[in-house]
């Protein structure tokens, strides 16, 4: 099991010019300690991160799109796995922060918490490559390979909360930041 903030910090250290779509706790943490104009957090409704990311990946096939989804979120939009696999964007990396609960909403356990092989579901729908990672060293080592793989790639990341960071919902849904994201992406 990895601390989520350590996992995200390890990603941020290796990040180049990828678009990153993050939801809920991952979005709060990433925007706090690794701000970047290509952080996309404007998902608006639970479960929608993977679908926003698909639109971005189809619209900018020249840019790698990395999603930090949640297991509670993905359970609300499981069909998106099929939609993504059907479109098969080569630039799509779907990372699932599996914590087994709805952490933002009181840490109530998800149905079948910890017992679903999400990577297997992704593989069945047609994702090209899947990983299951629960060790920080393993994540750091495999990340360069994951980012080079032809997508869609799915990575289950077994995580638990690390340090607590302040919540900033207005930042996550800010129109101003969204427009800055658009402008930055248009130039990159």
């Amino acid at each position: 099991m990895m601390k989520r903030d350590e996992m995200l910090k390890a990603f941020a250290r290796q990040r180049k010019d990828e678009i990153v779509v993050a939801v809920y706790m991952a979005a709060q943490e990433l925007t706090h300690f690794a701000p970047n104009d290509l952080n996309y957090t404007f998902v608006g409704a639970m479960g929608q991160g993977s679908s926003h990311a698909l639109g971005l990946a189809l619209g900018r096939p020249d840019k790698k799109v990395v999603v930090f989804d949640g297991d509670g979120s993905l359970l609300m939009n499981l069909g998106s796995l099929v939609t993504i696999a059907n479109q098969a964007p080569k630039n799509y990396v779907h990372c699932l922060c599996e914590n087994g609960c709805y952490e933002t909403n009181g840490s109530v356990l998800t149905p079948r918490s910890g017992q679903i092989r999400f990577a297997e579901l992704a593989k069945t729908t047609g994702y090209k490559k899947t990983y299951e990672i629960s060790d920080l060293g393993d994540w750091q080592q495999k990340l360069p390979e994951i980012l080079k793989e032809e997508g869609p790639v799915f990575v289950t990341l077994k995580v638990e909360p690390g340090e607590a960071y302040p919540e900033n919902f207005p930042r996550l849904y800010s129109i101003e930041h969204r427009e800055k994201f658009r402008q930055t992406l248009a130039k990159s």
Partner: protein
């Protein structure tokens, strides 16, 4: 077909006039036979088929953030099913999601609010409550509203709904 009031071609022409390349869709009985199948067969359009309508709201938003215009085709039942995504993403998030909504079961030349079909009757009032601009498309002349409505939605970063009142052929 010459006397038929609404053609799929007139709607496609509007998509082209508005600069649409991406069409996100879940088959709708009103538009699937002539319009959606035509779009699927047309190499000018990239059709993204979704499993559930709320995905479509978000895919169109991601496409917008990546610099593209798109439309999202669904049946009114799908619109009802994806209300929260439309609320959170399109309305509150100010994303120009352009919805093409088939009013399955609406009687010809009857205003949607006068329909005997409950699901059809409530669509315009719901759109009004949500502050979403809407246009009823029943004839080729109505279809000419589509491109300007899409352009306005993108200019204002706000969603719009085109309600397809009869099967386009």
């Amino acid at each position: 077909m010459a006397d038929y009031p609404l053609t799929a071609e007139s709607i496609k022409k509007e998509f082209k006039r508005a600069g649409i390349h991406f069409v996100v869709a879940l088959p709708d009985r009103v538009t699937s036979h002539y319009l959606l199948k035509g779009l699927l067969a047309d190499p000018e359009y990239k059709v993204v088929q979704v499993c559930k309508e709320d995905e479509g709201v978000s895919i169109c938003s991601g496409l917008y953030a990546a610099g593209h215009k798109s439309v999202f085709m669904m049946q009114y039942t799908g619109f009802l099913d994806s209300i929260n995504a439309i609320r959170g993403v399109a309305v509150e998030g100010h994303f120009p999601v352009c919805m093409i909504v088939g009013l399955l079961g609406k009687e010809a030349d009857v205003a949607p609010t006068q329909s005997k079909k409950y699901g059809v009757k409530i669509i315009e009032p719901i759109l009004d409550v949500m502050g979403i601009e809407h246009h009823l498309i029943e004839r080729d002349a109505d279809a000419q509203q589509i491109a300007p409505a899409i352009e306005k939605a993108f200019k204002n970063c706000s969603p719009v709904a085109m309600l397809i009142g009869r099967e386009p052929r």
